[in-house]
Amino acid sequence: MYQTFLSFRYLRARPISWIGVAGIFVAVAALILILSIMSGFLAETRSHLRGSLSDLLIQPHLDRNLMHEGRSILPKRDVPGILEVILADPLVEGASAHYTWYGMLAAAGRERMQSDVTFGDLALVKLVGIDPTEEGTVSSLREDLVRDSLISDEQVADPDDPFGPIPGYEPDGRPLDKVLIGEQLARFWGLRRGRTLELVTAVLDPETGSPREAVSRSFVVAGTFRSKNNEFDLSTLYLPRSVMADWFGSGRGFTDVAVRLKDYEGTKTEAQKSLANKLHEAGYLHDPEITGGSEIRTWEDFQRSMLAAIENEKGLLGIMLSLVLLVAAFSVFAILSMLVQEKRRDIGVLCALGATQWGVMGTFLMIGLWEALLGTLLGLAAGIWSSLNINAIEQALSNTFGFQIFNREAYAFDHIPTVIEGSGVAAIVIGAFAASLIAAALPAWRAARLNPVEGLRHE
């Protein structure tokens, strides 16, 4: 095709055409790199948000109003029974019953509690009663206990038995019950392994639901854990579930059950429904028709607003970045318009020698096509390569310029995370290609509409 032949000749003879290629190249490469880094940050943030949350959380309502028309009963509260029902579901990987409550931490211990309370030197904490073995099947607690910590050196003696004996702890009298505390909490309050702390809480009357009494109790720190979620590490204490049940009594073995699914993304809705029905039949949950399934929630339900914000941010970023594409497309448009203007005589000659308007248009469109093709392919390669090697690139740049470009202190991670998102990359490539072609089509169309006589009139 003469269009191909001529477009190659024009590209070869006009180095300025390469500016169009360079524009698309830079835009595509930058977009892919930025999208990959952004996706990496978002994925990392998402996993931080998730922290040690399990897939599903089952929380029976203890609301008597739900028990009407004989359709619902006061839920049963024994741990082995509910675990048996849950684990029988083929979608379930593991389950762990929690006894969750809230309290205040007086870190200085019983002696100084008076002044701590007076000066507000207290932390509101979540008390999670667990069985470490059960918990291991649903959360990353075991890894959290041994994960390298930047700030705490107070890990448990035996991660497989975190509530086991504490080396160097010699109780005078009856040994205290043990707690595991988040490393941020430990740092903030200067708590070390073997130190005692005081927990203050209110116990509710199981019949009326009103606070029965304020109680306080001493515990000893068995070690620290480090989930990926700082917020969590600043506000959570793990205790043996039996201690919690014993402390709060009232015949209740658990308050909620964490469940891990075999395939969370694929079966979350299905699993929610089937568990709600089965647990209702077994007498552990209310009728899902009445509660609307609100007794079983996913981890995302707890972080909904943060996750929505992340998604939204990604969308906004996409819109802003498509402006870069617009600039690249504009450079193709501008350069091709110049070429058409400059080639008015050639266009006249082509007409005189027998080219149709479509042929003339095709010639210039083809120039845009090569620019788009070359620019997007090179940009795709460079974008993916730099996404894969961003940390090495950053290192090299940092060494060259003598300062740290990626400030590790400012983030919770020590490398630049990247995730190459196939659909996003495809959208960028297709978008860049289409935008460049459309940008080329306008001047090509103008070339086809030129009056050949005008182009031929002068030397």
Binding site: Y2, R9, L350, C351, L353, G354, T356, E459
Partner: protein
């Protein structure tokens, strides 16, 4: 002339006006002209008479406001765009005063361009390339095949342009002051070449000029004044 078949070109009552500010300036006031096959016709006239305008209409580059251009029996301006493009490609050869070669292509590529525009590829294109090469060599450009127009003199460029115009063996060649931009000796060489080719290939030649000497070498001279054909003098020249 009696046995000569119907004209290769008939211009019928062609009118063309241009907008000059408010006024409509009519340049061609109903031109009639016939060109017979193998004829050598010289169109003369002072500058601004409308010769180029007429040639552009005959060359199917500029649409007349009125009238017909009949090429090989077809009313060319009544054809669809693609039909006219085909006529420009096969039936007409165009030689311009300013050569109008494509600067990005070398002499050989410029010469083969009409074949490419006709869609020739592969073996057919190679045939045309050989043909182009032969005529360029015959035109004394054997050493210049791969030179770009920028490296060629005016006379050489015009010879390439003639080879290009003749590549598809059109039955009609139109040339608008082909020597107007050349010095006398060079112009004469180019004209000799053009006339030799005409004798070899038997195409009709419509030549626009205001060079009296040139007119003497044409068998028929037509004068154009103020947008009308004034006089037609036939001087048979033995081929």
């Amino acid at each position: 002339m009696s046995e000569t078949n119907s004209p290769i070109l008939s211009v019928r009552n062609v009118r063309r006006a241009f907008k000059a500010g408010e006024r409509n300036l009519e340049v061609l006031h109903g031109v009639n002209l016939d060109v017979a096959p193998r004829e050598r016709l010289c169109l003369m006239g002072s500058s601004g008479a409308g010769k180029t305008t007429l040639l552009n209409i005959i060359g199917l580059l500029d649409r007349p406001d009125e009238g017909q251009v009949i090429l090989k029996g077809q009313d060319a301006w009544a054809l669809p765009n693609s039909g006219r493009a085909g006529l420009r490609n096969h039936t007409l050869g165009f030689v311009f005063q300013f050569y109008h070669l494509l600067p990005e292509l070398n002499a050989l590529e410029n010469t083969t361009l009409p074949a490419r525009l006709a869609g020739a590829r592969g073996a057919r294109l190679r045939e045309f390339r050989e043909k182009a090469e032969k005529s360029l060599i015959a035109f004394g450009l054997g050493e210049r095949l791969t030179h770009r127009p920028g490296k060629l003199s005016g006379g050489e460029q015009q010879r390439v342009a003639i080879a290009r115009a003749l590549l598809m063996d059109p039955p009609l060649l139109i040339a608008d002051e082909p020597t107007g931009n050349l010095d006398r000796t060079t112009g004469d060489r180019v004209l000799n070449l053009l006339f030799e080719e005409q004798q070899k290939r038997d195409f009709a030649l419509l030549l626009v000029t205001h060079d009296q000497r040139l007119a003497q070498r044409c068998e028929r001279v037509v004068h154009m004044e103020d947008g009308l054909i004034q006089a037609d003098s036939v001087t048979p020249i033995p081929h």
